[in-house]
Symmetry: C2
Subunit: 419 residues, 2 copies
């Protein structure tokens, strides 16, 4: 256990960088030019990547080669908690200030500026929750103004739906504005069609799992933690006009399925132990399968910036994941209570993280009250929703542990022959 | 092209079996005992499986070995339409009555009774539509009795949601009755919890795709057909009490995510050419991206049987996929209009297929009017929803082409420590 201990590394610049010895996130990288090089799994230390295949091949890390044979972390995730924990301990030993192996490891470090991160996992299934009370209330008010914003099931179960796994992309992948049907101008009329006018982001925290129990049994909440490998920042891009027209009665589909961006470095659950806090109170008390004596939320400061094309960065959101109503282990226990299988590489995201202050809402639809109150950016321009060329950057930090960032630029929709 | 031509095979029993030369479905099989043998891709002819790796290795089929290296059809699906079509033509030549290679192929045939089918594809994403007008109307009436059964978007877009890809299973895999929260007895009270009391099936027709366009452009409806490899029968098992409590506002989640069963043999799209019929009229006329001059529905007779534990088979549903409102190519064009990527092995299912006669509804909730009118089975017992030990069998046939069957038995829910 490394909780609360200050750790120092021999790697130049690592200490205090947010990616020091207490973090050691996992990702997958390619050398630039990325098209001609294969991708390889790595651990990040400061501004370096350390190839995990190299460590195995040189005998510095004792894991089966299958752990990192693929250009993603799925093989490693399949190995489960003991392997994750043992690997982390070994990496801390190799990279710590008093490592006897520094001379062997140093030549294996590659500067991040020579690399491009790719998607760290092949996502089998992507579940998106709706775990923020403030977000669910805000959205209910905007989408169903005539009724109670929070439906009667919301406080009893972590509402969720399945997103599109094939649309999960890594940070820095551009996002094309989606085309689609939108609510007709006249009620009962023909739907409008065109590029989404109300393109939005959603600030979320996600976690990536190992395999669930082999027998198709639910993951008990008392056992859920050990299935969680680590956490990423998630931007669940949302097309509000498409969503509004399509989402009843079966939920969001094309309004969400065009892109979901992940931060490239998965921060191990163990690195976030010091960020654990008591979750907020739940009323009514959840059913027994959602109760754990030592449940935890994560105290991660989160922010969102918007950078117009050629412009300066404006900080538009400051919030924290500690305020989420439903916790990660409740999410996992709920998602499997019906026997649904969980596979290594599965992604579970929190849903938009909103607080109760005006600048703590994790989406533009909330920040602008459904587009009625524009934000003024540093360059003097206004935004209700995203414009072509805008870059959205989300960052997260828990004390000395950085979650890095997830970034994406909006590209215009090119005309197609099919519209 | 083989349309309308009667084809005869030298394989004993193939002609007239539903799996003759005009069908040639693809699947993946294992020798029994299945645990100790690897799975291999095969084509079915009559009651035999012909290993596709064997055909490549013996030089009888000219495809890259990557086509069938994996224990699923994904490698083959990646090759795209020309390879699918060329392979089909070659198989027809090898297995036809005047094949010069019959003596070489004959030793490669393995009787199906010595094999067990496994899941034919690794599903990247599973999209479930809601394409039957009658089903959507029936369900709207049952779930929202106080309002119009068909929402205003339904006739303008093929409503859909993402199901859980990791819960897709092959026919004959038992299905455990799921646990979960259900609507409270008192409005505003605490949810009930326990095994699903209203376990149901849904009769659907699914299709499996190759890769979509590499550039993330939508699949044009004029081009959609060539991305469809073939069709399977789908039982989208449904937990109605769980679904009713959870599904608003983000759609079905645990009520569906515990199991979706597929028939093991994927019938190539080309084998179903003779089953093409003009789709039903759509009013209002769909937007241009959903219009094709030669759109088609499939005239496939479908039936569902229920077999109680130790009892006789009762035929409880007779319907046809030709009555579906939204067509396969409309489904694919719609699902990608926002730029969502499609990957080889993706599954698109129609949603429950219901007609307008009382015995043509593709789910128990419709057949029994929400559990109010029990069905009487041949053994004299009654059913509103499924009982433990019940086996559901779905079969499909288009002229001389059989879609085989998808079968599953309901197992009781074993108590867990987490409930």
């Amino acid at each position: 256990m490394v909780r609360g201990v200050t750790l120092t590394s021999w790697v130049p610049g690592a200490d205090g960088s947010g990616f020091g010895l207490e973090n050691l996130p996992f990702g997958v990288v390619k050398r630039e030019p990325a098209r001609t090089h294969p991708a390889w799994p790595a651990v990040r230390i400061g501004n370096f990547a350390l190839g995990l295949r190299d460590l195995i091949e040189t005998g510095l890390l004792d894991l089966p080669p299958s752990a990192f044979e693929q250009p993603n972390l799925n093989g490693f995730l399949k190995l489960g908690e003991e392997a994750w924990s043992g690997t982390r301990d070994r990496l801390i030993a190799l990279l710590g200030a008093d490592s006897p192996d520094a001379a062997l490891v140093r030549p294996l470090l590659v500067e991040l500026e020579r690399l491009r991160p790719v998607l760290p996992v092949e996502t089998g299934d992507y579940v998106d929750f709706y775990a923020s009370l403030e977000h669910a209330t805000n959205l209910g008010r905007l989408f169903r103004p005539e009724s109670e914003p929070l439906l009667s099931n919301w406080r009893q179960l972590p509402v969720a739906y399945h997103g599109r796994a094939g649309s999960v992309i890594v940070s820095d992948t551009p996002v094309r504005r989606p085309l689609g049907q939108q609510t007709p101008a006249d009620p009962g009329g023909i739907a409008r069609f065109g590029p989404e006018p109300w393109l939005d982001f959603e600030l979320e925290l996600g976690f990536v799992t190992g395999d669930g129990p082999p027998d198709g049994q639910p993951i008990s909440i008392h056992d859920a933690e050990r299935h969680i490998f680590g956490f990423v920042l998630v931007n669940d891009w949302s097309a509000r006009a498409i969503q509004r027209w399509e989402y009843q009665p079966l939920g969001p589909f094309l309004g969400k399925s065009f892109a979901t961006s992940l931060s490239p470095w998965i921060v191990p659950r163990q690195a976030l132990m010091p960020a654990r806090v008591t979750p907020r109170e739940q009323q009514p008390r959840p059913l027994p399968y959602l109760r754990a004596a030592n449940d935890w939320a994560l105290d991660i400061s989160l922010e969102v910036s918007l950078i117009p094309a050629g412009g300066d960065e404006s900080h538009i959101v400051r919030t924290n994941s500690r305020g989420l109503y439903w916790t990660p282990i409740q999410q996992l226990a709920h998602a499997t209570i019906n026997g649904a299988a969980v596979r290594a590489g599965d992604l579970f995201a929190s849903g938009t993280i909103s607080g109760d202050e005006a600048d703590s809402y994790g989406s533009l639809i909330e920040l602008t009250q459904g587009g009625r109150r524009a934000l003024t950016l540093r360059d003097g321009t206004e935004r209700t929703f995203l414009q072509d060329g805008d870059t959205v950057v989300m960052r997260g930090r828990a004390g000395s542990v950085s979650l890095g960032e997830v970034r994406g630029r909006v590209e215009p929709n090119r005309p197609t022959t099919s519209g």
